[in-house]
Every structure is written in C-alpha cells, then in structure tokens.
C-alpha cells in the first residue's frame, strides 16, 4: 500500500466466481487513477470484437489518489466500460459516499468481467470479498436494495451502488445508483444488468496515508478556506446546485424542449418547493459545499436527493415547470435506475414525432405525447423500465429505436453518437458546442470548460495558470484576425479549438486524481491545477509538475480517442445535430446558428492542438509513441485506421518514465483480448 492509494486493484470474474488482486502500482505512474487507470484497463481488455452486453465486456469502478482524503469533494467514483449507448468507450461518474468507502477497504479499482449464472451482488469488507446471491433483490428498486443488503450483511455502515429494474431489463441507458449520487450516462447500469450484477456493497475501515501528513493537512485546509471565501459559498450552501441552474438559465445557456429556444419566461425555481417540503441539505462525503437538496418525502412519493443535474433536463427538456411532476419524474427515474437525461431525450423525440404525425396515440398506448405534458413523460418512465408497450421502443439504443419506427423519424432524434443531447445551448455557445462534439464520450461533460464570460466562468475568476493560459489562447487567436481581447465573445470561433483541447486536459487531470470538477477552474476555481499538483506531490512524496499532470491527461485523451478509432468511430461523428446549424433558437441571439465551416475549422484546430491527424481526428503514430502508446498505433495500423499523414510541427514531448512504460507495455500485451 503506497501513499494516497489503497494499493490494490480488485478483479472479479463473475462467470468463474473468481476474485484476484493486483497492485495499483502497475498503472499508477502512467495513468494516475480514476478515469485514467479505468480507461487503460478497458483499452487493454475490451476490443472491437466484444459487444457492450457480451459477458466479455469489462466494467471498471475507479477511485483516485484524492478519494477518501480531506481534499474537498473527493469521494467520487469513475465507471468505465464499453457502452451499449454509443458502442464505443463509455464513462460515467458519481459523487456520494461509495468511492471513499471502497478506498477505506483498501481498493483503488474494482474490475469486473463475465456474466454470473444467476443474479448476484458483491460484498466487500476490507480484505474479504464475497459474491452473494441476489435473486431475492432482483426486481427491487434502488431505494430498497441498499436497506436489504445492509440488514443481510449486518453492516449498518455499508455503502451500496446498485441497478434497478431498468438495468435488469437491459434498458439501453440504465444507470448505476447510490444514496447520494448516480452514474447516469452511457448505460453503465445496462452493462451491470447484462452481467447479472445487482449491486456492490462495501465496508472499509482502513485509512489513507500520506508522505507528509502535516503539510497535506495544511494544503487541504487552504482549499476548504478558499471555498468559504468564495462569492458563491453562501448561495450554494443555502440554495445548492439550483443556483447553478438559475445562472445558466438567466444567461441563455439552457435549451428548451426540442431546442426551440434559449429563454423561457416560465422557467421554474424550485427553491421555495424545497424549502416548503424539506429545507434540509446534503452533499457528498468529505465536501463542505453540501450542494444537494434532500427531500424525505413529497406527497407519498418517497425520498429524493437532488444533485446538480436534476434541474435542467427534467424541466427545460420536458418544457414543464410543475414541481410535483418534476419530483415524480425524478423519483421514478431514480427508483428504476434510469438515466433521466436520456429518458428526456427519447421522450422529446416521441413528442416531436407525435407533433409531426409520424406516430399517433395508437403507437403510444393511448398516451398523447405532447411536449410540455409532464403527465405523458412520467407515464413513459415505468413503461421504459419494464420495456412495455411504447416504452419498449424508447428503451432501446437510438439506432434500433429509429429503425423500429422508421418513417423518417431519424431526423428528429437529437443526439451525438447515440447519446441524446443534454439541454444546454450548444448552438450559440461555441466552445460548449465544440467541446460537446469532441468530448470523450459524446456529451458535453468532460468536453472542456464552460466559456470564460459564460454563466459561471469568468476570465478573472479562473485559477492560475489556467487563467493565464486561457487568456493567451484567445488573445493569440483574435490577434490573428486583427482583433484584441476586447472583441472576445463566447459567440466567436477564434481560439475555441485550442481552448477546448487545453481545458479537456485540465478536466482529465481532475478525473484521474479524482475529485469534483466543480472545485476546479470549470466552476468555482478553488482547487485548480496548482493546488492539484501540490496536493498530489505532498501526498505521494513524488515530484509532480503541472506539465507532468497535463502530459498524463494528454496520454489519456489520446488513448480514449484511439479506443474509439479502433472501434471505427470517424471524425464526422464528432458533431452536433444538423438542426443546430440550420434552425436558430428563439431567444438571446436571434438568427444565430452554428456555422458549419467555422465549426469544422475549430475541430481542425482542436485535433491539431492534441497532435491528432486533422482529416480523421485520429492520433498519429508520432503522438501515440511520444505518449508511450505505441501499442495503440499498432492496433490502429492493423485495422487500417492509423492516419498515414505525418504530424505538422513538434508537440511537446511528455516526461513519463520510459522504464515504467516498457514494463507496463509488456504486461498489457499479455492481457489484451478480443481484437
């Protein structure tokens, strides 16, 4: 066990009922943790021949070195596997308490493969790992499941992640739930369901140690102090993440219904509803922000923990502002274990088809699918989870759903690579639109920072060096066209390619060390690159520079893109629906649409900034080799997907240790399968 880590990657083969352990050290130097090590494992072990719902798919649950420590917001879990939604690399994360507990049990990652012959759950208690029968909880909702498991194990403090009926029924976008967080997108719950894996319960009583605990304490307390001094502290600790939703709504950052407008006079404010029905706050383990609203019960619908994502899609997306219907929608999605964002997207599509007359009430079990009808949306949720009636079509991946309806329905489904769009304004906010299109999984999260001068991002409040580097990017790009910084606007295209490339790397650092992105330059700016670097160096006793961290991030981004390229993803899939290039949204920027030429040029700039070949968007051999990923170049070459053109210019060489890479490359060759 090293500093900051549990030290062990726990591997479980559900088909064979086998549990093995390997040291995290094998991966740590090159991939740090969290999304990094998860992705490396999936790259090595899940190739193009393995389907997302095949037993051979691997699902990795990862913590990072920060998890379980005093770093604020560090109890986060990354889940990575091949996704049934996109058919390529899927990833999802959650806050809450589970990740910290896993670290305290001594594990940095849990990696699961194979399909159990009957429903099972995994129970981890420090060194003991059991695969237990789950047939008595198969069918149980995600609220009841942890209660049953706690009682059965005699462990009142065990933490549980689980799937609901949606995951068991292999609903394409089923999610993974816990008491205070959900890993929503890319169908990770569906993957668990395909393995007959109902839940993972963990109890851990070990600690996380540091090379210099006193200095680590001091650095953490500085981060806590910075949060209390932040101008958003009062707002977020009293009103929570709804504050963020209001900022976004007021700035024209949200998209209404089927992306018809970026303003909504009837946009809801649910704070009074929360104050009336609850007034109680909660948040993730180890985070003082307590940005979540807790409801014990509303009108007999049971409890809800409302996190940051809860406020935009179920309201703006469904174009409905009734808080009771909002509560019903979310609690249903939570209990069944369904990604509410994708549910909104699929339901929206149905309302558009209904409006166009492509489907009628005969198709939709007698329910008029009218946009704005919270009742219709809510009625669909159980149908989707149970795959009943019209719900069986909406429960599918986008390709299958489209082919089952046919009749030209394809043009109305707003998605990128199979993920329906979250209801943000990708049309008028250029960096958001680009970042979403070239993001690691196909939706805006991890796709880059919000725009500076956006709803929460300002040049002045960015931490350093992110602020300086961002200003330099936009200054250089604007001066190329004879303008200075006073001309900067989030509606311009100059510089966004480089900005998205840079901020994607910054986000990747956070996803590997693993703590909540809200603390970074993405939102609050209290825990930026310099603080991350310091905490990681002090904690491990290793000497990390910001460039070191950004190089690991660059390696991760390139491996992710190489994975997708190996699966056959092409540059034209890194895009937004055509509607956003043709039909202007009503609101703050009348007549404004995305400009296809400028958008594609910005993509060129993005690929170049990362050392990837521009016409294909695929990393070149030079870049992959520089990053210690020669095996990825070999894989792509074998499939004829390695771009032949040489790189223009000299990207900065990373500083990774060659010896570690060679050892690790030899090990990974043995483990790879399914190519």
């Amino acid at each position: 066990m090293g500093y900051m880590r549990g030290g062990t990657v726990l591997r479980i083969n559900l088909a064979k009922g086998e549990v093995t352990k390997e040291p995290t050290d094998r991966y740590a130097r090159l991939f740090i943790g969290g999304r990094g090590i998860n992705t490396k494992i999936i790259y090595d072990e899940v190739g193009p021949k393995v389907g997302a719902l095949d037993p051979e798919n691997v699902i990795a649950f990862g913590t990072g070195p920060f998890t379980g420590t005093l770093v604020p917001g560090s109890s986060r879990l990354e889940v990575t596997a091949k996704s049934p939604v996109t058919g390529t690399l899927g990833m999802s994360s959650m806050g809450g308490e589970w990740a910290a507990e896993l670290k305290y049990a001594g594990y940095d990652h849990v990696v699961i493969t194979g399909k159990a012959s009957r429903p099972v759950y995994v129970a981890i208690h420090n060194d003991s790992v059991e695969i237990r029968d789950a047939s008595h909880i198969w069918g149980e909702d995600t609220y009841k499941t942890p209660d049953v498991i706690r009682k059965e194990l005699g462990e009142p403090d065990a933490k549980t992640i689980c799937i609901g009926l949606a995951g068991e029924n292999l609903v394409n976008y089923a999610c993974i739930s816990s008491s205070k967080g959900t890993a929503g997108r890319t169908g990770m719950g569906c993957v668990m369901g395909s393995k007959n894996l109902k839940a993972i319960a963990v109890r851990g009583t070990k600690g996380v140690s540091f090379a210099d605990p006193d200095r680590f304490l001091e650095a953490c307390l500085k981060a806590h102090d910075a949060l209390r001094k932040h101008p958003y502290w009062d707002e977020f600790t009293t009103v929570g993440a709804t504050a963020e939703a209001h900022h976004m709504a007021d700035s024209g950052y949200c998209a209404l219904g089927n992306f018809e407008a970026n303003v909504w006079n009837e946009a809801p404010n649910f704070t009074p509803f929360w104050q009336q029905h609850s007034g109680k706050r909660t948040g993730c383990f180890g985070c003082p922000m307590t940005c979540k609203e807790y409801f014990k019960d509303v009108a007999g619908m049971g409890p809800l923990v409302a996190s940051c994502a809860a406020y935009v899609d179920p309201t703006w997306g469904l174009k409905q502002n009734n808080p009771m219907l909002w509560y019903e929608f979310l609690t249903r999605c939570e209990r069944y274990g369904l990604d509410h964002t994708q549910a909104v997207g699929m339901i929206n599509w149905a309302t558009k088809l209904y409006e166009e007359g492509i489907i009628t009430e005969d198709d939709t079990d007698g329910i008029p699918m009218i946009l704005g009808s919270g009742e219709a949306a809510n009625a669909m949720i159980p149908k989707i989870a149970k795959r009943e009636g019209f719900g069986a079509i909406l429960a599918d991946d986008t390709k299958s759903a489209i082919s089952r309806i046919g009749r030209g329905s394809e043009k109305y489904l707003l998605h990128t690579r199979g993920l329906t769009l979250r209801h943000l304004n990708y049309q008028n906010w250029r960096a958001l639109g680009l970042g979403h299109s070239v993001s690691p999984r196909g939706d805006y999260t991890r796709g880059g920072f919000f725009e500076p001068n956006g709803p929460v991002g300002e040049f002045d409040t960015m931490p350093e060096p992110e602020g300086k580097l961002t200003r330099a990017i936009f200054k250089a790009a604007l001066s190329k066209v004879g303008l200075d910084m006073s001309a900067y606007s989030p509606q311009r295209y100059e510089g966004i390619g480089a900005y998205v490339a840079f901020t994607q790397k910054v986000i990747a650092v956070t996803d590997m060390l693993l703590h909540c992105k809200w603390h970074t330059g993405w939102v609050w700016g209290t825990l930026g690159l310099e603080q991350e670097r310091k905490l990681y160096s002090i904690g491990t006793g290793e000497d990390w520079t910001i460039d070191d961290l950004l190089d690991v991030a660059w390696r991760l981004r390139s491996l992710e893109m190489a994975y997708d390229a190996r699966e056959g993803k092409t540059r034209d899939q890194d895009t937004l629906p055509q509607q956003l290039f043709e039909v202007p949204m009503r609101g703050l920027w009348p007549e404004d649409v995305q400009d296809r030429d400028k958008f594609e040029r910005a993509k060129d700039e993005y690929y170049e900034a990362l050392g990837w070949e521009v016409t294909t968007g695929v990393p070149t051999r030079e870049t992959l080799e520089r990053l210690g990923l020669a095996y990825a170049a070999d894989d792509l070459e074998k499939l004829g997907r390695l771009p032949p053109t040489a790189l223009k210019g000299e990207p900065k060489a990373p500083s990774s240790a060659d010896e570690t890479y060679k050892r690790e490359a030899a090990g990974s060759k043995r483990r790879r399968q399914g190519h």
């Binding site: 420590t69 005093l70 996380v208 109680k280 909660t282 014990k296 409890p303």
Partner: protein
Amino acid sequence: MQHVVVIDGDKCTGCRVCELVCSLSHAKECNPERSRISVMSDQEEGELLSFPITCMQCEKAICEIICPTKAIHRDLATGARLVDPKKCIGCSACAYVCPFGAPFVDPIRGVAIICDLCEGDPLCVKYCPTGAIEYVMREEVNIRLKRGRMGRFFHYSKVLTALSQVV
C-alpha cells in the same frame, strides 16, 4: 476560560469533514474510524439523519474515574480529558462506561483516544460547513441550548396555532 463542544444535530448534513480533519491532524491519516468525533447516521428507507458524537467534557468523567491505571487526567487549560499513552493499557473500560460512546481504543496504537479539543482550537468546529459543531464557553452552554429549544418551541406553537385555526 473553559469551552466545550456543543452539537446541533439538526444542522449536521453528514458530510464528515469533521472526521477527516480530526483523523488527519491526530492520527496522521484520513480514516473516520480513527476520528475522535464520529458522525452516526441512519439511512434506512430514505432517512438522512446524522449526528456527530464526541466527548461531552463531563464535570465528573466516569472514564477518568474508572481507568485502572489512572491514565486519564483533565487538562487544566482546556478541560479536555487527556490520555497518557505510557500508562494506558488499552483495556476499553473507558469506552464501555462513557454514556456517549466517545472514547475508543485506537486499533493501530492500542491506546485509548479521547477528544483533546485540539489544545483549545478545535478543527472540527472550524471546518464544519453548517455550524453544527460549536465551541462555546461552559457558562454559555445552558443558555445556548435553551435558545435552540426556544426556536423549536416557537415553530411548534405556530404549527399548533395554524392547525387550531383550520379546526
């Protein structure tokens, strides 16, 4: 002037920053199991109750009285009960007799651990985000608790008044 820690469970959100800051500063690792303040929680059926438990700085501390090796004594400055690790045999008698379950024998060090009030500047008090843990002069504890209950009394009396008007 001696202070004691006063806890308002209604304000606790279960974030456990107190456990992390305590264990890191004292045990030199982040481990809620080795913290001198413990957040007990109930999450059955969607419940979200949490309440921090720590030493109540008793005037007549049973832990001090019962200790077979007289390892526990009261710090003159802060009033906190301190454990002399040289005398402590890790028998757990203090853990058994405390009405609040505050002391415990640390699994790594094998000696009893009791809140030492961080030598007069408690970190948990400083870093609790909601003020659920306060550091209050002993003389003021009484009035503080009464005011806290008075707030609840006013709230309930309003509820009762409203109900009586409906009926």
